[in-house]
């Protein structure tokens, strides 16, 4: 009796998990298609609008990518079923270190550009 209930429960749980997998696949595909279509059309108003030194279009790409990363990590890598301790120790460590190095390197890159352009008469001779 009890063994039977566990099997049916397992089956229910499994069909739910499989449904979630296909749902996430659809989300990831839609996000990718949106990215590719935007990348090919490159709508003028998105390219010409700048927010914090970057085209709005690029911000859209980055935000969509972070969404994709979220779905892959949470659903495919089962992060949503891990304990909050494990989740935080992996995700926050990554988030902090990665934002730190990106900020440092991009600021430095912009500085180098500045020296490159303004520090010399020309580089194109």
């Amino acid at each position: 009796m009890s063994a039977e209930t566990t099997t049916t429960e397992n089956k229910k749980k499994s069909s739910g998990a499989i449904k979630r997998i296909w749902q996430v696949f659809v989300i990831l595909s839609v996000l990718t298609i949106v990215e590719v279509v935007l990348g090919i059309i490159k709508p003028d108003f998105l390219v010409n609008t700048d927010i914090v030194n970057m085209h709005l279009l690029n911000w859209i790409f980055i935000i969509l990518t972070i969404f994709k990363a979220y779905y892959i990590t949470w659903a495919f890598m089962h992060m949503e079923h891990e304990t909050s301790g494990l989740r935080r120790s992996v995700v926050w460590t990554g988030v902090f270190l990665i934002s730190y190095i990106i900020a440092i390197l991009l600021i430095e890159g912009y500085y180098i550009y500045d020296v490159f352009v303004n520090g010399f008469i020309t580089w194109d001779f």
């Binding site: 495919f76 890598m77 494990l86 992996v90």
Partner: protein, 327 residues
């Protein structure tokens, strides 16, 4: 007796008294997670290094749509990004079959695990093959370009402003290449590969085709490469051109700054290396599934751990796709 073997700490039964797994994950899975975290930082290093170089050459960086515009069996058709988008789908789909294999493993369903893992390996191999094809196109190049003495890349465009290949207009002339034979001197001496057309042949062809012009690396306010007017183009070609560049290597490439090709090779190469390792791990696990190792062990956790790695590879590709091909 007892007190001589084990020191009592008085914390037995408390959360920090030992014997409680607070993260409720096995050692192997935890270590895979922390490996993934450290590997993510390595890729961050690569991609933010790419960002730094791109910010340095913000006005000269190649436009990805113009570089990666090939599609199998469509020769000469401008297909920006379709192929990389397809590669992305292949990898995402192999991630789906992987997670289905993990799910089947939870139910000890050997047959399903076998099928899904085989599909995942297939997806990985197709992706790797696609990447090889992408590299082949990148290395051999499509159009060819001229390098100036200051290291700038000049590309050729027709009257519509579309880039054209040097082979389309260069005036081929008689040219003989001396073959160095071992009997004539030092047998291991070697020279540089000759380009398909010499600088003089390109100059002659350019003079004859008056509708052609030159495109510099400079990106104008419309986000397009600057096209010089004819008189200026002729001046550039006669005064500055020093070398013909076809395709790409680590020193120079026909697309733009050398760093562009360097980062392409290192980032996609390092990712491709991860995919190959992933395929190897998958194959080993696949055969273990076949011979029933995990059936006997009573748990398919190994499939889960390899799955974590495989999803990570997919995750990295999502970022490489965005930063290399879209942004």
């Amino acid at each position: 007796m007892e007190s001589t073997t084990v020191a009592q700490t008085g914390t037995e039964g408390k959360a920090w008294g030992g014997g409680t797994p607070p993260l409720k994950a096995s050692y192997g899975k935890l270590m895979m997670w922390f490996f993934i975290l450290s590997d993510a930082l390595t890729f961050t290093g690569f991609l933010s290094g790419y960002g730094l170089s791109r910010f340095k050459f913000i006005e000269e960086w190649p436009i990805a749509d113009e570089v990666f515009n090939h599609f199998p069996f469509l020769h000469g058709v401008d297909a920006p990004m379709y192929y990389v988008a397809l590669m992305t789908f292949i990898l995402i789909f192999s991630s789906v079959t992987m997670v289905l294999a993990v799910d089947a493993g939870h139910h000890m369903n050997k047959k399903k695990v076998t099928t899904y893992m085989a599909l995942t390996i297939l997806g990985g191999l197709i992706f790797l093959g696609s990447q090889a094809w992408e590299w082949k196109n990148f290395i051999s190049g499509t159009y060819g370009a001229i390098e100036t003495k200051s290291g700038q890349i000049l590309q050729f465009v027709n009257s519509d402003g579309h880039q054209i290949a040097i082979a389309d207009f260069a005036k081929a002339s008689e040219r003989s290449e001396a073959v160095h034979e071992g009997s004539n001197g030092i047998w291991y001496a070697s020279g540089n590969d000759q380009p398909s057309y010499t600088l003089d042949e390109i100059k002659a062809g350019f003079t004859d085709n008056t509708d052609l012009s030159i495109r510099t690396m400079q990106i104008n306010e419309n986000g397009e490469k600057t096209i010089l007017d004819r008189a200026e183009a002729e001046k550039y070609l006669s005064e500055r051109a020093v070398r013909v560049v076809e395709g790409a290597n680590l020193t120079r490439n026909e697309y733009g700054p050398p760093l562009f090709a360097d980062f392409f090779f290192f980032i996609t190469g390092f990712h491709g290396f991860h995919v190959s390792i992933g395929i190897m791990l998958l194959i080993v696990t696949f055969f273990n599934v076949l011979v029933g190792t995990y059936e006997k062990r009573g748990s398919y956790e190994m499939v889960e751990k390899v799955g974590l790695y495989w999803h990570f590879v997919d995750l990295v590709w999502v970022f490489v796709f965005t930063f290399f091909y879209l942004v």
